[in-house]
Structure formats: C-alpha cells, structure tokens
C-alpha cells in the first residue's frame, strides 16, 4: 500500500495570535508552529494502515522552510519519506493553486491513498482533499472517522454525517480521503524514532522551479480581524418546565455542550 499524507504546519492552538499592521496576515514572531491537528490523525491512520498492510508512507508539506519541522516529526513517528514543497517565492497560494502544485509532484507517484486532514486550523478551507481527488481523478470521501482495507482495490470508510449519524461506504482505490480528528490516538515520536529520522529521505523541491501553469491565486485575503467579543445575557422566562426546556435547547444547539 502506497500512502501519501498531506501535512500542514499551522500556529499551535495555544499561540497568542496578533494581526500584522497590513491586516492581511498574522505576526509570526513568538508563534509556535505545530502540525495541523487533523493532519496528525491522518498520519496516524496512514501509519496504522501501513503496519497492518505493509507498504510505505510518504508525507508532503507545502510551505516555507520551517515546515520541514512537521515533516521531520512525521518521519520520527514512522513515515518513510518526506517531500517539502518550498514556496518561499510562491507564498500564499489559494487552495486550488496549492492543490495544483501538489498534484504536479504527486501525479506520477501512483499512491493508493492520499490522506489529508479535514481542514487546516489556520485558514480552514476544508477543500484540499476534495480538489486533489478531482485533479487526480480518484475517488473521494470527506469527514472520515474510520477506515478498513477490503482488498487491493477497495477501501471501506466510515463517514460522519450530520446529527450524530455515521455512514460506511466503499471506495475504489486510488482515493483521496480527508480525516476527521479523533478517529485514533496519534502516537508520540519515540526517542528511537527521532534518532532514525535523520537517516530517512527528505526531498525539498522549490515551487518556483516546478513547471507550473495556471497556478496563480484567484482568491486573496482582503482583511483579517479578530471578532469583537460581546457579552449577552439571555433571560429564559416561563414556568419551570419551560425554563428547563429552553435551557436544554440552548445548551444543546447554541452552546453545544450537551
């Protein structure tokens, strides 16, 4: 089984985010970068499949030099190869263009499965896996919560639907599959794995040196801002039963803690 996992480096979730003066990007100074959360689950799913079926896991990341960190982390956890698409002079591609860049490198590699996280914690397009499937002409499933290889040509996936429903479906391979956080328990890089990491291949390719057509971004960030915090007190009125019903309604549907 040849598996590729697309991994993005994003600001760590507990970073304090400050918006730059131009209001189009965030201040990177003092931000810790980490692997996008759902990508960690995608990697774990790939490693579990490899351990079960045999094969090879390649990880790929598009970004500046710093994103080699998430690739090295993936190699330390057990991925076999890494590809870094260095976008230093090709920054801030929109998601379609980013997918085209990746396809340019992946199209001849004949992966059986391309895993990606459901969405990135920074921009949150939630489209990459879907676009990859379209551009590479593979089958596709999003929001995947479980996988099972049926045979060399078929994978069964469990998808999350709305309202707590799940659906199992079978896909032909090759497939591009986006993974929802929580389906497995991502491993920690073992210290031995970290020692082995430096002997594994990490190929760096400059995006500017790829033969690209049609990859200029068509969408641009216009303005970034932090939402205004507002405090609102809601009084639920009526009989005790009505108040309880109203409260449960709010806790379930608005605050989503029930």
């Amino acid at each position: 089984m040849k598996i590729c996992v697309l991994i993005k480096q994003v600001p760590d979730t507990d970073s304090v985010i400050k918006i730059s003066n131009d209001q189009k990007s965030i201040e990177m100074e003092g931000i810790t970068l980490a692997t996008n959360e759902s990508d960690s689950y995608a990697l774990e799913e790939a490693l579990l499949l490899k351990e079960d079926q045999g094969g090879e896991v390649t990880v790929l990341s598009l970004g500046g030099e710093s994103c080699q960190q998430v690739l090295k982390d993936a190699l330390a956890k057990g991925a076999d190869k890494a590809i870094h698409l260095d976008d230093d002079d090709y920054k801030d591609l929109d998601i379609l263009s980013a997918a085209k860049v990746m396809v340019n490198v992946l199209k001849d590699k004949e992966f059986d499965i391309i895993f990606s996280g459901l969405q990135s914690d920074d921009i949150g397009n939630a489209q990459l896996g879907l676009i990859m499937a379209e551009l590479l002409d593979t089958s596709h499933a999003s929001l995947v919560m479980g996988t099972e290889i049926l045979d060399e040509k078929t994978i069964k996936v469990k998808q999350e639907l709305e309202g707590g429903w799940f659906q199992w479906s079978e896909l032909d391979l090759p497939a591009s599959i986006t993974i929802q956080s929580g389906l497995n328990k991502p491993r920690y890089a073992s210290l031995r794995g970290i020692m082995m990491m430096k002997r594994k291949p990490l190929e760096s390719i400059k995006v500017s040196e790829l033969n690209l057509e049609n990859t200029s971004s068509k969408s641009f960030v216009h303005k970034l801002y932090i939402p205004q915090k507002t405090k609102e007190t809601v009084f639920i009125q009526g009989s005790a039963d009505q108040v309880v019903d109203g409260l449960i309604e709010k806790l379930t549907n608005e605050i989503k803690v029930l």
Binding site: S66, Q69, K72, A189, I194, K198
Partner: protein, 389 residues
Amino acid sequence: MKLKGLDYLNISEHFSDEEILVQHSVRDYVDSELQPIIEEHFKNGTFPAEKIKEMANLGLLGINLPNKYGCAGLSHTAYGLACQELERCDSGIRSFVSVQGSLVMYPIFAFGSDEQKENWLPRLASGDTIGCFGLTEPDYGSNPGGMITRAVKTKNGYTLNGSKMWITNGSVADVAIVWAKTEDEVIHGFIVETDRDGFDAPEMKNKWSLRASVTAELILENVEIPEENMLPGVSGLKGPLSCLTQARYGIGWGTIGAAMAMYETALKYANERIQFGKSISSFQMTQEKLVWILSEITKGQLLAMQAGRNKDRNVLRHQQISMLKRNNTWVARETARLAREILGANGISGEYPIMRHMMNIESVYTYEGTHDMHTLVLGDDITGIPAYR
C-alpha cells in the same frame, strides 16, 4: 526549529532538530498523559506505575545509552531536555527516570561485564525490570565513603549484610545496585535481585516531598549472590560517585523544568488576578518577582546547555556538574517561594502545582549531594582546600 515553552534568549538555535523533536515529543507526552494524573498520585503518595510501559516505549529509560541495548542512543543534551520536560511535571517522575537510567543502567553499562549488559540493559530499557540504587545508609549520607554495608567473599560469590536508606524505587524494584565494602575496605557495586532470600525493602511512608516517587529502606541480611553479580569494572568510591554525576547532570536540567512550570503558573495568575481594579501583574513588586524568576531560569538554561555541550564532547568535569545541580536546584527552590507569594492564598492550594513543586524541590536540594556539599566541592576546586573533611 524552536523549543516549546520558555525560551527568552532564543537558545533554540543552538539545539539540533533531533534534540528539539525530543523536547517536543516528551513535552507532548507529559502534558497529555502525566499532567492529568500527577496531582492525584502526589496526593495519594503513589507512583504512576501504570505509565512505566509508556515511558519505556517512548524511549525515556536509558535515553543516552546505545541502541544495541534497546536504548535511544541520543545526545546528553537531548537527555537533559527530556529531564527538563519530565520535571516540569513532577520531580518524582524525573527521579524515576534518573534512577533507572543514570543510577542503574549507567553503572551496568559503564562497569558491567558483557553478560551483565546483555542480560540487564534491554530489560531495564523496556521497563520490564525496574531498578534502584542503594548507596545512602542510616549513618552515612553526605559521607558515603564511611558505609558499613559489607560483602564477604564466599566460595561462589558474596554474602551481603547491611542496610540502605532513602532508596528511590526501592520497594518496587526487581534489581538493586548495592554498594558495599569488601573485606579489604574497598567499595564495590553488586547487582542484587530483590527476590533473593534475606533481601527486604519496606517502603518509607510519611514523606511530605517526592510523594509521587517510591522511597524505601533496603535491608540485606545474609543475602547470597554469585560471583558474577559483582560489577567488575570499578572499585572505590568513584564507582557510585560517577553514577551520581550522571544523574546530577539530569537534575540540573530537570529543576529548570520545575521552575518553568512555576513561572508559567505565576505569570498567568498574575495577569488574571485583579486587585485594586487592575491585574496584580501591573504592580511593580509582582513584576520584579517575575523578572527575577525569568532571568534565573534563562541563566539556568544557558548553564545546562553548555554543560550538555561539554558532556557531549566528553569534557564535562564533575565540578561543573556540581555547579549545574547546585545553581539550578537553588533557582527552582527560590522560584517556588516567589511563585507561591504571587499566587497569594491560592499559592498554597492543590489547585495549582506550586506547593507540590516546592515540597519536591526540598528533596532534590538534598539528594544527589546536598546543596552545601556541592558548594564545598566547588570551593575545593577553586582553592584546593577540601573543606568537607
């Protein structure tokens, strides 16, 4: 790559990618798996034995020993960073790893026969076997050279008699490295399986420090061991002292981790706690405390980092390790008091980790050579006068 957490002086650039990945991995593991359970264990006075296997799988036991024994084979600097992250959680956890790696695996690695290494190191690295280190005796603490535990030669080996005190992991250990004198008054190390007749290890209860670490007495009453259980590679006090040098090196990093945990807690608290209409972090006296802690931690990081570099080049002198252990443990001890002050009444509450670290550091201040003993080691080094005798 960047270290996670406090790095005021941007020292990340001096660490290799591997070293930084080690810090990240151990930190992530500690935050998700150990932090949530540590308070409970500390309160109950129990060691989280259920985590031994996970820690072993991560590679925390014998980090800087070679691959061929099932160890990670990482640099001493990486080992130091791992100790920092473990002690950021609790000194008891770091103590467990120090004892297993530096006080049990290290002497077998450095002074053991090939058979001893092959027999013991993989089991100790995998956590299937737990070890302890018996040097201190009821009447000989800072002066271990005076020990009275004896190893008398028999036809096929030795008979051990004596007692050891304050032995970390003692009552959970499968094997003890026991230091004893032979008839010629020379100290030797012995590998003693704890299920041998005449060996007993009652747990020492009623500790108010290192409560998440097990401490025991070792009682040896005519314990017979075969000849091949003696460590052949060393004799004299330098045997146990060289093990302590390894462990102290890790403590020098670890205590900075404890200080970091307290600093982060205090800074966050100071920013959130409102008195007189503003956060207490806006008062100069609070800022002064936070800045003192930050500066001392930063200096401690530099000290640890350079000690690590020296150790990786095999040029670290034991007196430099005394400086590292002495200084950084003191930093953690002072930090505990200042952080406790910043948290006010909440500082004494179990809701925050300050008192737990404060109590732990009192052990760390004393074990592996007391603060004062390290002062005298350094005093001897610069004046040539050993004031401890």
